[in-house]
Each structure stands twice: as structure tokens, then as C-alpha cells.
């Protein structure tokens, strides 16, 4: 059972709600994925409240935990204010903290991230920081009050999957007791299975499902991959070896000459 900030979650897949071809497809994809947490955002309301109201009604009908984000924020001030507003409207102290530092890669501004994480943690938020695999930054985020870390495995929406296995192994190894969620960069179910096999606690993804040819089918596939990867991890996998090892018993083999 995955426990994040004291909350037990049935699924190790967290799914985004953006970019689906229709609200109905989004809802069905979320259901079929088995995800128990969905990510949401806040944006300017230009239609008297109807746009946000329709979306929020749909999300509430799914009866899942909601993780609001600070997507698009480029400064500590923007992220902190957005987090406060999210807590007000979504009624949760969970916040997926994003402080973007670089436009092309959407790489987090890790200095601003640590500062915002400290401010929000002291204000009672349960901070889920979108970060890199940098070990020192991870340590600073924990010192700032984070109890969960969300390292990327590749840039948001890139679908590249785990491109730096050394870095991923290192952060997993350095923080064995901290829930680590791979957030961003996953493109295929096999990517999700791979990082789960490495011992990561969960994955968070959006684009790979929402922009698939069949988002509902892909959501199901990711759900299975996450479960398979986790079960493989806890079951103990064989290490690769250079030499062959026969799987059929050698003893008892007949000799024909």
C-alpha cells in the first residue's frame, strides 16, 4: 500500500486530467487506469464560473483524491499564491509544486523550488515537488519539509522515458525511505514498468495517456504496467549474468550415441 502524507492509496498511478480529446474520454481513461489520484490546475475563469464549474463537477463525480498543481509558475511568489488559491478552492493541503526555470525543457528552477517548498511546508501544505534527480536538491527539499519527492525521468511531455538510469538509481538508493514518484517524461507503459521495477513508489503521467490514439486503452495499459513493475520489484528479480544457465534440469538427461 502506498502512503503519501499519511494517506493510504490503492493505486501507484497518478494521472493528469489535461489534453484529452473530450471530458468523457478523460473520465473513462481515469476510471480504466485505476488511478486513485488525479492532478488538476487553476486558470483564469472567463465564463462567469461555468468553465471551472463544469470541469470541477466532473472531477468530483470520480470521487478520487485531487492533487492541484502550480503548473506554469515561474517564480516563488506565483507558485506560493497559486498553491494558497488551490487549497482554498480544492479543499486539500496537497500541492504538486512546480517552479519552472527553463522554457524549452520545462526544467524546474530548483532554487526557487526549495524556497517555495519551505514557505508552503511551514504554512501546512503537503508538498509534492516536481524536481530533477539532483541528490543535493532532493536533500534540501526534505530539509524544507517535503515528505515526498517527484523527480522527472525526462522533460515534461517528451515521452523519452528513463534517459538517465544512473541518476534514477542514485536517487532511489540515497533516499530509501522517502516516497519517490516519477513525474514527467514517461511515454510508454514499458517506461512505467521499468521505473517501478527499479523501486520507485509511483508514477505520475498525463500526456502519454491523453495524447494516445486510444487514451482509454492506454490508460488501462499504464495501469497494468505500474502494477506489473511494482510486483516484479517486490518479488525480487534476477540480476543479469554473462553466462548462460540452463533452465531445464541437466540431471536425468538421456545419452544417445
Amino acid at each position: 500500500m502506498l502512503t503519501l502524507y499519511g494517506k493510504d492509496l490503492a493505486s501507484r498511478l497518478l494521472l493528469g486530467t489535461s489534453q484529452y480529446p473530450s471530458p468523457a474520454t478523460m473520465s473513462e481513461a481515469i476510471r480504466q487506469s485505476g488511478a486513485s489520484v488525479v492532478t488538476v490546475s487553476l486558470r483564469r475563469e472567463m465564463s462567469g464560473g461555468r468553465t471551472g464549474g463544469d470541469f470541477w463537477g466532473l472531477i468530483q463525480s470520480l470521487a478520487l483524491d485531487v492533487l492541484p498543481n502550480t503548473a506554469g509558475c515561474h517564480s516563488v511568489k506565483e507558485a506560493v499564491t497559486t498553491a494558497q488559491m488551490a487549497r482554498e478552492v480544492f479543499g486539500t493541503n496537497w500541492i504538486k509544486l512546480e517552479v519552472i526555470g527553463e522554457h524549452d525543457t520545462l526544467q524546474p528552477d530548483v532554487f526557487g523550488l526549495v524556497e517555495a517548498a519551505r514557505i508552503l511546508s511551514e504554512d501546512g501544505f503537503a508538498v509534492f515537488p516536481y524536481t530533477t534527480t539532483d541528490l543535493v536538491v532532493a536533500e534540501r527539499l526534505l530539509e524544507a519539509g517535503c515528505r515526498v519527492l517527484m523527480p522527472w525521468c525526462a522533460p515534461i511531455g517528451s515521452a523519452m522515458g528513463p534517459v538517465d538510469l544512473f541518476a534514477l538509481r542514485a536517487i532511489r538508493g540515497h533516499f530509501p525511505e522517502t516516497p519517490l514518484i516519477i513525474d514527467a517524461g514517461l511515454g510508454r507503459p514499458s517506461h512505467a514498468a521499468q521505473v517501478m521495477e527499479m523501486g520507485f513508489d509511483a508514477v505520475l503521467l498525463n500526456t502519454a495517456v491523453a495524447k494516445a490514439g486510444d487514451p482509454v486503452g492506454m490508460a488501462r495499459a499504464f495501469g497494468k504496467a505500474v502494477e506489473a513493475g511494482r510486483e516484479a520489484f517486490v518479488s525480487g528479480m534476477l540480476e543479469p549474468r554473462d553466462m548462460a544457465a540452463p533452465s531445464t534440469p541437466v540431471i536425468g538427461q538421456a545419452v544417445f550415441t
Binding site: T39, L42, R44, F55, A71
Partner: protein
């Protein structure tokens, strides 16, 4: 007075945040507001006096990754 509302300049007659939302026909418990980059809770909107040049943000839940 003249306000900047969600990035657009508007001339309005409302003088509180509550009356502004009513004047602009905004409604819904899912709305969240800020004045000059500081959040204003729903319960504080009636007492939130607006002044010329204020920057108002009116936000609501949206899709997110």
C-alpha cells in the same frame, strides 16, 4: 473605477470584491480570487474594498498534468 480583471482592463461600478463578482455575473463556490497578487478568501470578499488600478484575478478549476 478602472480595474484589470484577469489581465483585461475594465470599467466597473462595484467597490467590493463580492459586488464585482455579481456585476460581472460570476457565480460558483469553486471560484477563487486574488487582488494585487494576494489571495482573498471567499469569506473576505464582502469586506474587500477595491480601488482604482487594482489587479483582480478570478480563477477556477481546470485540467492539469
Amino acid at each position: 473605477m478602472r480595474l484589470t480583471i484577469n489581465g483585461q482592463d475594465r470599467e466597473v461600478s462595484a467597490d467590493t470584491l463580492t459586488s464585482l463578482l455579481a456585476e460581472l455575473e460570476y457565480e460558483g463556490a469553486w471560484l477563487v480570487t486574488a487582488v494585487n497578487s494576494e489571495m482573498v478568501r471567499a469569506t473576505d470578499r464582502p469586506a474587500c474594498q477595491l480601488k482604482d488600478g487594482d489587479r483582480i484575478e478570478i480563477m477556477s478549476p481546470r485540467q492539469g498534468g
